[in-house]
Symmetry: C2
């Protein structure tokens, strides 16, 4: 069965394992085997926090290498952009030639979100806006940083957007299911 | 000459090209050819913002493929973590087998920075803390998300930390030069 790595900040949810099961069940319905970052049993008991972190990182990279596609959860996380671990895994998958699918539970575009985050933004010149630190604010009519959206577009994946209710910001699966639908079309019915 | 891709939010600086020249000059001094994301001349004039963004993304991926190492600028950017474009490029480089070096101009660790960012953090249980959205706060004694630090460690690179003055948060090159020093040791003198 085609394996789909489920990247995202879902690992930080209080009920991460139950949520993973829900996502995997949906994957199965669309003909995919969902692979969650926490799927590998790691014995972290006797490791320092640092070594435990590095051990998880290696395990996740190995899991991505075993998959044919990634479905990345890109809902903004602690700032205007998605979780950096997710961004890293999208780049990792893209370089390996995997198809990169992604979804976000916020439809507002990246430029507007960054302006909300940086209320002191201003015009730098006719074509450019910047934040209070004088760092340019990307304005490419995209959902997030151009590298992330580029990975989805260039790999032939699909980016699904949906506005979730605030209480379900990280758990709404409407857009995730839209990715599965698109992936089924691309990979063919099981 | 060994080529080093200079990933980072430096592209958003008002004087990005001049700053790139400064970084490249330093690279040269240590025996490396610095490769900056904006090095390729792209004709974006007649493209929509969206297509321009995707064109830049493809050009950057091509540049990374032409390099042997990455030196990623990981200073926190609009939130407790580094720029997501940089995180993406670290993952991309890592999957291709490049050495990943990184530096940050903030020494405070990731867990502490995330607590600063999320003042409503609380204990979830004896071993876990979470933010007000009940999303876990990583506490692995690392500089940023474990995937990013894992890339540096596993690839044999070096992570350099330095506390820059606020006005030079994104432009201080002390830690960047420390990466070059470590890279010279690894790749050998030119």
């Amino acid at each position: 069965m085609t394996r789909a790595y489920l990247a995202g900040p879902d690992v930080f949810l209080p009920s991460a394992t139950a949520f993973a099961a829900k996502k995997k069940e949906l994957c199965h319905r669309y003909g995919f085997e969902g692979v969650f970052p926490l799927d590998v049993e790691l014995d972290l008991q006797n490791l320092s926090p640092r070594d435990a972190g590095l051990c998880i990182s290696q395990a996740n990279e190995k899991l991505i290498r075993s998959c044919q596609l990634v479905i990345a959860h890109m809902t903004p996380f602690r700032g205007p952009s998605c979780d950096v671990g997710t961004a890293y895994e999208m780049g990792f998958a893209r370089a390996l030639g995997l198809r990169v699918f992604a979804y976000s539970n916020v439809t507002k575009d990246f430029s507007a979100r960054t302006k909300d985050f940086a209320p002191g933004w201003q015009k730098r010149d006719e074509k450019t806006i910047e934040d209070a630190d004088h760092m340019q604010i990307e304005s490419f009519d995209l959902t997030d940083n151009l590298m992330l959206v580029g990975a989805v577009e260039e790999s032939g994946g699909n980016l699904a957007l949906h506005d979730a209710a605030p209480a379900e910001l990280y758990t709404d699966l409407t857009a995730f299911e839209e990715c599965l639908e698109a992936a089924r079309k691309l990979f063919g019915a099981p």
